[in-house]
């Protein structure tokens, strides 16, 4: 059978925890940003779009390093948090933040595609019927963006499961606390005597990713079948 050590089960549990937390945390912000980009006209919109997409093109290690500069003990935001007694670096919270930042562009992207496909007539109709913008947002746009939200969330979830570069920099490799599946595999892969352990965990990682991606494909199909 597949040899999995107790630390491997920890890694799997932590990976799922981080991915879930990062995705749930990002949904409200992702929805807000996607709505802004799709429906609101304002100066500097392109800058926002580029900024949101940046974590997608930057090497994850760079994202991690910037987060470290921001949230570290001597960092711009981190020093304030430190005074309040909040420590983020080398905790699971940092892993969640890293995954959230790296996966955010994927969520926004999916939501945008879906929102852009909403029939403007429906929005205009609700406006002419006297609905304020927040009413339209909640009762028209939100329900119609649901497929995009689910597709984007599952993509972001899958990405968070595989997040390594930023995570190892801000959360560190702490078995049982922040060692997610990619970090555990990395540790196994550096050692000449852990070949089978590395392979076992790789297999688990593949199975989980495939399950999530299948769900994403199903959702994507539902979205395209809508029209």
């Amino acid at each position: 059978m597949i040899p999995l050590a107790p630390s491997d089960y920890d890694a799997i549990r932590l990976s799922l925890q981080v991915a879930l937390a990062a995705t749930l945390l990002s949904i409200p912000f992702g929805f807000g940003v996607a709505y802004l980009i799709t429906f609101v006209k304002f100066r500097g919109k392109m800058l926002l779009e580029v900024f949101v997409n940046l974590p997608l093109t930057l090497p994850p290690v760079v994202v991690g390093y910037f987060l470290l500069l921001l949230l570290g003990k001597h960092g711009w935001l981190g020093s304030l948090l430190n005074n309040a007694g909040i420590r983020l670096i080398f905790t699971l919270k940092a892993a969640v933040i890293a995954s959230a930042v790296v996966g955010f562009p994927l969520l926004v992207r999916s939501l945008r595609v879906c929102m852009e496909g909403i029939d403007r007539q429906l929005i205009n109709a609700s406006r002419t019927l006297g609905a304020p913008w927040y009413d339209t947002l909640l009762t028209v746009i939100l329900p119609l963006s649901l497929p995009g939200l689910i597709a984007g969330s599952s993509l972001m979830f899958a990405r968070s499961l595989g997040e390594f570069g930023a995570t190892i920099i801000v959360a560190g490799n702490i078995p049982g606390v922040t060692q997610t599946i990619p970090l555990a595999i990395y540790e196994y892969a550096s050692s000449p005597t852990s070949e089978t352990m590395a392979l076992a965990l790789c297999l688990v990682s593949v199975v989980i990713s495939m399950a999530v991606l299948f769900m994403h494909e199903l959702m994507a199909r539902k979205m395209s079948r809508r029209d």
Binding site: I89, N173, P175
Partner: protein, 247 residues
Amino acid sequence: MKNVIKLLATLFCLFLLVAQAVAGEINLAVAASLKEVTNELSDSFAKTHPGVKFLKNYGASGALAKQIVSGAPSDIFIAANPEWMEYAKNKNLIDSATIGTFTYNTLIFAGAPGKASSMRDLIKLDRIAIGSPRSVPAGEYATEAIKKAGLDKHLEKKLVMAKDVRECLMYAERGEVDGAFVYKTDALLAKQAMILFTVPPDLYPQVTYPMALTVAGAKNKDAAAFFTYLHSGEAKTVLVKYGFAPH
């Protein structure tokens, strides 16, 4: 036809040139803690041996052993733990006749002043950096010391794994961990972190650095010459300069 022959002749000449470039190369696989020592020794060797080019690979000895076994070109291997030299030797990649000891070292705990003064104090700390015991000798020695001191259960969720002893030191320098298990020689290079205490030597085996020529290295004249240089009095002076014990 004449053009084809010309092209082939040019390619052949280029190939010869490339082959020559490879001849003067020495591939080093050296434990991360010996980085400065090896840089200085290779620089002074290169001054007296022009045409020699060093390709240095510094890292955790376990990771280096794995790379050598996987086919990474290496002429000289210096590990921080005899275990990894044995491992490479058992895979028939080392010229066993050349195995010797380069130097020794001591394990210490480094961090910001006042954090800890003995092994027992470690329980009070939040985060401790340690090399991954699967591949980093400093981590292996530290893990053994922790176990022998009976603290392994208490420190279970506090250990931040580093990929080599220098990353450990970097964590301590940055201040995001309370302290790190590094070698005395690494701590001497630190700017922010200080030596807080020396790990009692009865808790771990002596830190020994075995050195050897690989099977490929034994055939490389330049590598063999550098290997001899590593045994010289000049090398010992450099070792002492960086805080290592002369063998």
